[in-house]
């Protein structure tokens, strides 16, 4: 079954102007059927205006064992967050 119908990762864009977000995966024999399966499984309640499907095997993932060395060094560098500026009110939301 999985050889004939490999896994595809599904990304949905909820509205124009927003980016595609990962929502889950489907099994399908090829790209066209993967798009249709994604449409049928993940957009039944009006969730999207655009779908991407990507073969799961094409995704390169970071190694969970390297979580500490990858992500912990960022935790202590609060100066990277632009939270030390006073924004004039006229500017509004940025």
């Amino acid at each position: 079954m999985t050889e004939e119908t490999p896994l595809w990762e599904v990304f949905i864009r909820p509205r124009n102007g927003l980016s595609h977000k990962h929502v889950g995966s489907v099994h399908a024999a090829d790209a066209e059927l993967a798009l249709q399966a994604a449409r049928d499984v993940y957009t039944r309640r009006g969730e999207g205006v655009s779908i991407w499907v990507v073969p799961s095997r094409a995704i390169v993932a970071s190694d969970p064992a390297r979580k500490d060395e990858n992500f912990e060094p960022a935790a202590s560098k609060i100066y990277r967050h632009p939270t030390f500026y006073d924004i004039p009110e006229e500017v509004g939301h940025m």
Binding site: A29, L33, A37, D40, R44
Partner: protein, 254 residues
């Protein structure tokens, strides 16, 4: 609208409503039994499109008839002989190949039907058409892609697809039948002439069949009678299940 045309439109709305309800019910029978989870959602999705169309069609039919009948009266409280769906839609699901081919045959007819019906002189009917035409376009695409993959797939899938064609093709000429009802409606610009949709149906089915490496049967015996309420045995069994709760608990609300 003169009474003659009202009667014709009423009968056509019930025919279309019956087509949608019965095929919607057939597709819903797959729920929980599809070959894969993705199709287990895809087929009920299509079923719900069709049942939604049936509801709108029955409701409008009841309004035009003016005798106080609502959608449930049409769906649950009519006998087998009062159903005027075409025979194709009541055919049993068979295997997945049968179900997808039946869907392609029906949707390839209804998509151009609704496309043309958007220009109906009756606003309510035109509005139903405008919603349904998009739903049927997806059914054509989804069923068509499966027919292509099964027809041009493995030895077994190709054999099953050919068997489905042999079994179901004889029910397709009924889709294009005309009579006093369809003639009157076409003449008044109220609903499309079914016979006029044949070239578009041929084009879509031929295109899918070419990619699927399938051939239409050269010789077959066309079956018909559904529009006159003459059905196969299978419709009775379907209605038994469809109508059981409503008939066992008359007037119940849920």
């Amino acid at each position: 609208m003169e009474q003659r045309l009202k009667d014709a439109l009423f009968r056509q709305l019930v025919r279309l409503g019956d087509d949608c309800l019965i095929l919607g019910h057939r597709l819903s029978e797959w729920c929980g039994h599809a070959p894969m989870l993705e199709e287990d959602l895809a087929m009920p999705n299509m079923a719900l499109d069709l049942i939604g169309q049936a509801r709108a069609l029955y409701t409008l039919a009841g309004e035009i008839e003016g005798k106080g009948r609502a959608e449930d009266d049409f769906a649950y409280l009519r006998e087998e002989r009062e159903f005027t769906n075409c025979l194709l839609v009541e055919r049993p699901n068979g295997d997945f190949a049968h179900t997808m081919l039946r869907q392609l045959y029906f949707a390839a007819f209804m998509q151009p039907y609704w496309h043309a019906a958007q220009g109906s002189a009756h606003d309510g009917f035109a509005a139903i058409a405008a919603k349904a035409v998009k739903e049927m376009a997806y059914h054509v695409r989804h069923a068509g892609e499966w027919v292509i993959r099964l027809g041009d797939g493995t030895e077994e899938s190709a054999r099953r697809m050919r068997e489905a064609v042999d079994e179901l093709h004889r029910f397709t000429p009924e889709l294009f039948e005309t009579d006093a009802v369809t003639d009157a409606l076409a003449e008044a610009g109220l609903a499309p002439d079914p016979a006029s949709l044949r070239p578009e149906w041929d084009r879509v089915v031929d295109e899918v069949f070419r990619e699927a490496r399938l051939e239409r049967p050269q010789r077959f015996f066309p079956r018909s009678g559904g529009r006159a309420g003459l059905h196969g045995e299978d419709l009775g069994h379907l209605l038994t299940e469809l109508q059981y709760v409503a008939r066992a608990h008359p007037g119940a609300r849920w």
